[in-house]
Amino acid sequence: MNRTLLALCGATALVATLGACGTESTAPSDTSGDAGDVQALTVDSSADACTLSAAEAPAGTLTFDVTNSGDQVTEFYLLDEDGLRIVAEVENIGPSITRALTVNAPAGSYVTACKPGMTGEGIRGELTVTESDDEVEVSSDEQELVEAAEANYAAYVEDQSAQLLEKTEEFVGLYKDGDDAAARALYPVARTHWERIETVAESFGDLDPLMDAREADLEPGQEWSGWHLIEKDLWPQRAEDYTALTDAERATYADDLLAHTEELDTRVQELTYTVDAIANGSRGLLEEVATGKVTGEEEYWSRTDLWDFRANVDGARVAYEGVQPIVSEKDAELADQLTTRFEELQVLLDAQREGDGFVAYDELTPEQIKEFSDSVNALSEPLSRLTAAVLS
């Protein structure tokens, strides 16, 4: 059990991003001239004038349909109040072409500039963006990426949860029937699905201690239950003076685990994820690796820590890959570094494969454990900047 409680349903305070980002679309906008939308502006860039349809607009997602009515290629810039920093720009607008520029613009004074002929400081004007209740939204293109990431991650979690339930059902059946060898073989397989979505599972503060508590995590008077209790019963070799559970006790704990897994699966269906929660989840899963799996603390009795390790990394990578298209646009260098370091960690993991799974933690040399730890650190550092990059 661990205490990472990642806010999954928007409990994270999102600070509106100030660095406005612009995207241009190549097709002429068909919404130009929609008088009902005060955030849709038109710009007429001629040879000697830069005329906006309004001098004011409410803060939020502003679209500028820039029409070049001159006879030279033009550019349109939205600059900060001092006219120095480019907030957003659209280039290469040929004569009689209209191009749209979408900007997340907070309230403030801005300088606009058309640059027919693309020389000089351009023909400058002023734009006042007034306070509004409008959330600063991302551009439509990015919105699509965000929606895709959110939907894909929800589907991933639901799929892993379904597989967890299926495997847990099978596992508790074997355990109750006393087929310990088969139960031991299935234990790390079933738990893989838990570990892949561990940060989600842990967000249910009532279920997590009942399902994934280790003995040392218990409070005085708290009764132990869940995966690790059964783990100890299946692998009692490292336990001192251990008394095996009776058939009746086995049935109780097995049924209890299954019931909680069913409850988890039910609740997971209700969850939605924001991109920042997905990015935080990726980071959180690597923290689980660093604090519990690299150190061999998670699966103290079964020594199947590397299965969990791999599953945490799987989950972290899926979460990362979901938001990767967004990050690639905003910080390609970070995206490249993360992609590379996920691959490097995967290479180390693959080297420890044995059959369908992994070697026992005890079989790793101190040098190999150190190598894993170094690789986890190398990945975790840039991963800690992922959420900010997604939100930028």
Partner: protein
């Protein structure tokens, strides 16, 4: 030694055929504000089977029992417990180490060293004239400490009263709770500043509560924040351990940061050597630690690796010896 004097005949003035009485590393150094505090552990009175070890069992205070297991404790027995303790504090760690080293040397044959811990950078103010130092998380730690000037609070929270008939010898003394708390430094360092502040419930810069004001401002736990949550999170450290939710219980903290090199994975073996003096660990420490283990956001970044409790007798007057009231 607290007066800057060496042990015995000193480090260089003795018979050249004998090892010096004093080990010598504090030569030329001033007393450096050295203080020595002595305590008695539960195992001095009774062994693990409850047998009277030295005829003192009938004087074992009710509150001097091994601390319970707390969730998340992964205690190293070799860094926990003990019959006796010495806390040596000085402005120069070399002076503190010198004191412990020479006292241990004098005791060989009667006592042996079970564990020791070197710390640096006191983590709490003990006087209103001091500014609050920072722990290795980078946050001010011990803002709400009981200060030397608060004499009524010291009586209420720190000095043992006369309510335990077996512990008459301890009246005017205190209980010392020692906890070696490892911080998972590398993981902590990757937390966004906003999250770090939310975990603690204070700003990292000034130490002001997230509800506003300055460092010494009282936190407003009811102040609403974003997303229908209070501005100080429900699992923020400052809320979970606050005296308001523990019957007003306060502690006199006198802990230190520690770095014991690096671990096998290259991470810092570092954290907070928590030391608190309380009137009764049952009311002033155990409930607070339980609440922390259970619901404090910081616990995610902590590992409790050592633990001990000692009864500290009142100070020694001229011509008296340490623990005179106990051994009388």
């Amino acid at each position: 030694m607290t007066a800057g004097e060496p042990a015995g005949t000193g480090a260089i003035d003795g018979d050249v055929r004998l090892p010096p009485d004093d080990t010598g590393e504090a030569l030329d150094l001033p007393a450096s504000g050295l203080t020595l505090t002595f305590g008695f552990g539960p195992s001095l009175f009774r062994d693990a089977e409850g047998r009277d070890r030295f005829g003192l069992a009938d004087r074992q205070p009710e509150a001097l029992r091994d601390l319970p297991h707390f969730p998340g404790d992964i205690l190293d027995p070799a860094r926990s417990g003990g019959d006796l303790c010495i806390q040596a504090c000085a402005d120069d760690p070399q002076v503190a180490v010198h004191a412990v080293r020479n006292l241990a040397r004098l005791g060989f044959g009667t006592v042996s060293v079970r564990w020791s811990q070197l710390g640096f950078g006191r983590t709490s103010t003990t006087s209103t004239s001091q500014s609050t130092p920072r722990n290795l998380f980078g946050f001010k730690d011990g803002t709400a400490n009981v200060k030397a000037e608060e004499t009524a609070a010291l009586d209420e929270h720190v000095w043992v009263g006369d309510d335990d008939p077996r512990a008459g010898w301890l009246v005017g003394g205190s209980y010392l709770v020692a906890r070696r708390i490892n911080m998972t430094i590398e993981v902590w360092d990757r937390q966004p500043l906003g999250d770090q502040e939310a975990f603690v419930g204070r700003t990292k810069g000034t130490g002001a509560p997230l509800s506003g004001g300055e460092e010494m401002s009282e936190p407003d736990f009811d102040m609403p924040g974003s997303n229908d949550q209070p501005v100080i999170a429900t699992d923020a450290h400052v809320r979970v351990v606050h005296p308001d939710v523990h019957g007003g219980a306060r502690m006199l903290r006198r802990g230190y940061n520690f770095v014991d090199g690096s671990n096998a994975l290259g991470g810092l073996d570092a954290g907070l050597f928590f030391i608190a003096y309380v009137r009764d660990p049952g009311t002033h420490f155990v409930p607070v630690q339980l609440a922390m283990s259970k619901s404090d956001a910081l616990v995610e970044y902590l590992e409790f690796t050592g633990s001990a409790l000692f009864a500290v007798p009142p100070g020694v007057g001229p011509g008296e010896h340490v623990g005179q009231s106990l051994f009388a």
